[in-house]
Amino acid sequence: MNHEICPNPEQKRKETREIILGAVRDDMKRIRIPIYSNAWTWKVCDAGYKLSDAMHDYDVMFDAVCQHHEKYHFDMYNDLGTRNPIRMAEAAGTCTYFIDDARNTISIKDRERMYKDEYDEFLESGHAKFCFEKVLPRLANYSSREDMFQKIANAGREQLEMAAYTRRINKQFRDVYGVPTMTSGRFGFPSDTLFSYLRGLRGISMDFRRNEKYIVPALERINEGNSIDKVLDALPAKEEFCFAVRTVSLSHTLMNPKQFEKYLWPYMKKFADAIVERDLTAFIWQEGNIGHLYEFFQELPSGHFALLGELDDIREMKKKLPNLTMVGGMSENLLSTGTPEQCVDYAKRLIDEVGYDGKYIFSTNKMLSYANDARSENMRAVNDFVREYGVIK
């Protein structure tokens, strides 16, 4: 496929970055409501490819991601086809992904990778040693030490391939399309590692009742070497990205406010303080609901953070969290089943009711994954409309 070329990508990138940051920072002009792509596996299917083909062939993924931009011209993209490094996991023999081409989904089976009686060993070993000696052999069927060593080395080679694809697609978006880089990196909270990748959701739910004394020490052990300052020290020049980092969190959905205050908030507070101290911006993505945790998010200073609350009512969030830039709101159900006119009406109400002060990034709340999550003509109509109607007067 021949891909389109932006006549002046450098100028467009600069202008789009100002539009995006203008929606977040209090010291910049609010220009227009930016449009953010929350499309994940949907874009592969929308481009006419099978998910398993795109996940295994970087040329196919490259074309699918480029088609996504050329059809809809979003201002900012969360995923450029790098989210699920399945080739790496397959090379290591540790792949837990399951691709369903018929439903266009990729899923991971929730399982315990660290058993309930292994906390002491985990605390003694530390994260990397425990992963090497316990977790990887549990995920894979290594026939011998040599087999394991070779497969890990193979995964390293695949990681380099993935890095090459990442550089290629970033260059295409930046230097050919004039799209600014959304974030310079990711930052994870230790509770998500403990919940999602060590104990599993079922395991951690039991630990809240039976192994509670181990949770804080385990979080501290995971957090070693996971310093936000280290991440921020390695950032390129500010002009090279919109948000310094993006966080994605799911573990809060299992916590009541007291547990959140103990297990997640200390890390989030430290992260937020570092962002503010360096006068940067961050994109906070909270899966599930955060309605029970608004009091914590109210503490985040204005002008630095954009928040996507996946399942929360965006109008309610706007009232409760005026300090944050709201992200989301567009109904993927309507994008899937409605007419272009209905979708545009819905988008208009969102801009009027949530984006009236310009502190808003337009997007769907939920990740677009399934083939039927949106109709192409609806997506085009909505983006064309928001680009014109979302101009701040």
Partner: protein, 47 residues
């Protein structure tokens, strides 16, 4: 489940030195191979 698997007698500190030395010749000499491996192992476990 683990009982069915062979005991690989792993030792993280010693084994990453072996992998770095004997299995990762595709990396440039200037790369800190053990640091690369340590990050890779955590990435693989977090998939």
């Amino acid at each position: 489940m683990d009982e069915k698997k062979p005991d690989l007698e792993l030792n993280f500190e010693e084994d990453i030195k072996i992998i770095a030395r004997d299995y990762m010749d595709y990396l440039p000499e200037t790369t800190n191979k053990e640091a690369f491996l340590t990050a890779l192992i955590k990435t693989l476990a977090n998939q």
